[in-house]
Symmetry: C2
Subunit: 455 residues, 2 copies
């Protein structure tokens, strides 16, 4: 019987707990989490705040009851203060500050990530919010309900920024997005980022790019946001959604090694450098399947996978994480933006000889009503022809997400771009073409490469 | 300079012609086709007949102008009568019966398939239709427009039958589908076929299964369809959509070898047994990647792939067909039905030890509006754990088609079911879950297998 202690009860921690019980039904599993709510869908917060998900309880991937029903012991509002690897003890404190020591045979650290707090004067003003946890979202929600703001400035044009722009417009607010980079959604190439900007514009969102926000100040009952390039905007609410960082102070204090952005360094079996201690989820480095190196890429999908592996291995299993490809998708109004694998510059840095070719095609035969155009960028290695990555923008009902997954599955197996034409993909006129857009874009890449190799 | 002659101008023939010109720009390419219309989307006929595609011209994958612009010589209304391999000649006849001989260096036979005409008394009555060619669809269309039928009986519950039931309901007809088997859509397992029957029922289609149609007779201005089990129905129009067979008489007369269902036997390079003669598309046997054997599986996607390979190889290339997985999808009203790989019985016949597990999951997080349930059946080998096939039914906007393609891509690479959980698939709450339904269904299979292996 393994006594398994897990610090953190979000995706990775809960997955670890459930998997451990699945594999060793006698395992004594305790999950200590700092919040009062386990395993809520952080990715769902924008939809709660938009009103599309009216009740926050619905956001539970699993409720506390679901988890305890599996024989898992939950310690809510319980924060880890120190890990003592030599004695296999963790000191925790509850909400009242009551401190106690918990014994473990195996420990899984799944303490997740926290938002980066930029050095921005005015960040603590009332009406200025970060968004990461359920508690954060309750604060924003309370503001929306009680103060009825009519306008919002969103600092940061990443995933959360895009989804919250959508959410606030859904609520009837006037929205301005301020982004430091040249386009929003810097996770995809500029030409695709511009399509997203256009989609924001179509829905009435003001977009200011190339602007560094410098300060936020009170302006009567409103907030005044000032930035470079003379940027100045006034709004009732400011949401700062810049980036996240791994939460690893307690682990570091116990001499658990960290790497990239101070995320915990783990093997592909999710072991730390300290015996009997595993770590998993947004607080760890992630093995990249294409780079064959660790990176920091906190994603819910990865947290679930890694949590499951940590849970299995903590009770004696031998599973290894197969690696991330950084596959991700976001819905911005009616548009889905997806990517997998490496972009051109990332591939070049990793020593590949990348070529990226953009093409357009219809998601299904245009003679059937409702066809949408897809913009696909394929990155491959000029020398070997190997597929390195793909990015796609199109209507969110045009199967963008699962088309990027065809690329992801091809990448997983190290396919050459040319060989994508060999895949036997499904077709009927209302959903595709005899050559799927995935294959049309691959053929465009191959043709472009051939032209570029000819004299 | 290769003189390339292609018999047939639908998907396979046109793909061969275009690819040959792409690879050898000096190739002299002639396409002789029996119809007056090259490369129309046969798969689109139901949507033309439903009225969703109002103009049949839109069905052209490529128009005659598109094709001739690529430097391809088109001979319309031209039927091959005999092939003389020794002298590299093909005798053709045009619409006026004028006969001439065409020389070739390389020949590609792409004569496609024709509907099976069941031995059914009454099949030639006015108002009874088969549906395969553009000309067939013009006949049905003329009947719909001029005779304004108010009811239809469809004989055959396969893809065409399902799509035409949808099309006729769209037109306001009362529709009865008669199917010999126990459920409609015998290309998927019975539990999924029943879901399709239910979808037909929701849209007012009468479904009679387990009925062998025995005769069609004139009944005043109507048609009377009689079958086993006392089946009897009267309608203004009868559509017979049973099956298709390869059109290979001319090839057989030239001693070109055939196999399965008299389809032309080809290598994976699309060569026949006769030098300088290739064959491709719905008139040939298709290499099955999982069975590692030839089969007869006429599909538009395969025709495009094989045509491209035949065209490339006919001008000196060395590409091989990677094999079919039988991946296919059909939309029936709001439901998509998709499959790839082998079903349980097919796998057992091929010597595998199959286990098929059905599970249900939501296409995306239910807290976001509009979630649809997916029914997924995964077939894998009990001994090795290898993925053998998958079938899926769900709302056609729930990314069913491209989810089956994730399975198809996994099958292509011989993955184990358990390893599907390693795939890095995209997630955002409006389109998926942290574990995609593909992975949830794989995990259900693995759990079921483990339980069945335990004492």
């Amino acid at each position: 019987m393994t006594r398994l202690l897990i610090l953190g009860g979000s995706d990775a921690g809960t997955s670890a707990a459930l998997r451990a019980r699945e594999v060793e039904s006698s395992a004594e599993v305790t999950v200590a989490l700092a919040d009062r709510l386990p395993n809520y869908s952080i990715c769902g917060l924008p939809f709660y705040l938009s009103g599309e998900t009216p009740d926050w309880h619905w956001l539970a991937h699993r409720t506390a009851e679901d988890i305890t029903r599996e024989g898992i012991h939950l310690l809510l509002d319980t924060t880890a203060q120190a890990i003592d690897p030599a004695n296999h003890l963790v000191t925790v404190a509850d909400r009242e500050g009551q401190v106690r020591a918990l014994e473990y045979d195996r420990l899984v650290i799944a303490t997740g990530a926290v938002p980066v707090r930029p050095h921005l004067p005015g960040l603590d003003l009332p009406g200025v919010f970060l968004l990461r946890s359920m508690e954060d979202s309750f604060a924003v929600h309370a503001c929306l309900e009680t103060r009825a703001p009519r306008s919002a400035v969103i600092v940061g044009g990443g995933y959360i920024g895009m989804e919250m722009a959508d959410a606030f417009i859904h609520r009837g607010l006037a929205v301005t997005v301020v982004e430091h980079g040249g386009t929003v959604l810097k996770t995809v190439d500029e030409s695709l980022g511009r399509l997203v900007s256009a989609e924001l514009g179509r829905h009435g969102v003001e977009v200011a790019t190339g602007v560094a926000v410098e300060r936020i100040a009170q302006a009567g009952t409103q907030l005044h946001v000032m930035g470079s390039e003379g940027f100045s905007a006034t709004a009732d609410l400011v949401l700062v959604a810049v980036s996240v960082q791994p939460q690893t102070e307690v682990a570091q204090a116990a001499d658990i090694a960290t790497g990239e952005r101070q995320a915990i360094r783990v093997t592909r079996a999710m072991e730390t450098n300290v015996p009997d201690i595993f770590a998993t989820g947004d607080c760890v480095e992630t093995w990249h399947r294409l780079l064959q190196a660790p990176t920091y890429l906190p994603l819910g999908t990865t947290a679930h996978k890694q949590g499951r592996i940590a849970g299995e291995n903590a009770v004696g299993g031998h599973r290894e994480f197969a690696g991330t490809l950084g596959t991700q998708v976001v819905k911005v109004f009616d548009t889905a933006v997806a990517r997998t694998g490496l972009r051109d510059a990332e591939a070049a840095m990793a020593g590949f000889d990348p070529l990226t070719v953009e093409s357009r095609s219809w998601d299904h035969k245009v003679y059937y009503p409702g066809a949408h155009e897809l913009h696909i960028r394929v990155t491959g290695d000029r020398k070997t022809g190997r597929l390195l990555g793909a990015q796609m923008v199109g209507h969110y009902q045009a199967e963008v997400a699962k088309r990027i997954d065809i690329f992801a599955t091809a990448l997983f197996h190290g396919m050459r771009v040319d060989d994508l034409s060999d895949l036997d993909l499904s077709y009927t006129p209302p959903v595709s073409s005899p050559w799927d857009p995935v294959q049309i874009s691959a053929q465009a890449w191959v043709a472009h490469r051939q032209r570029s190799l000819s004299p």
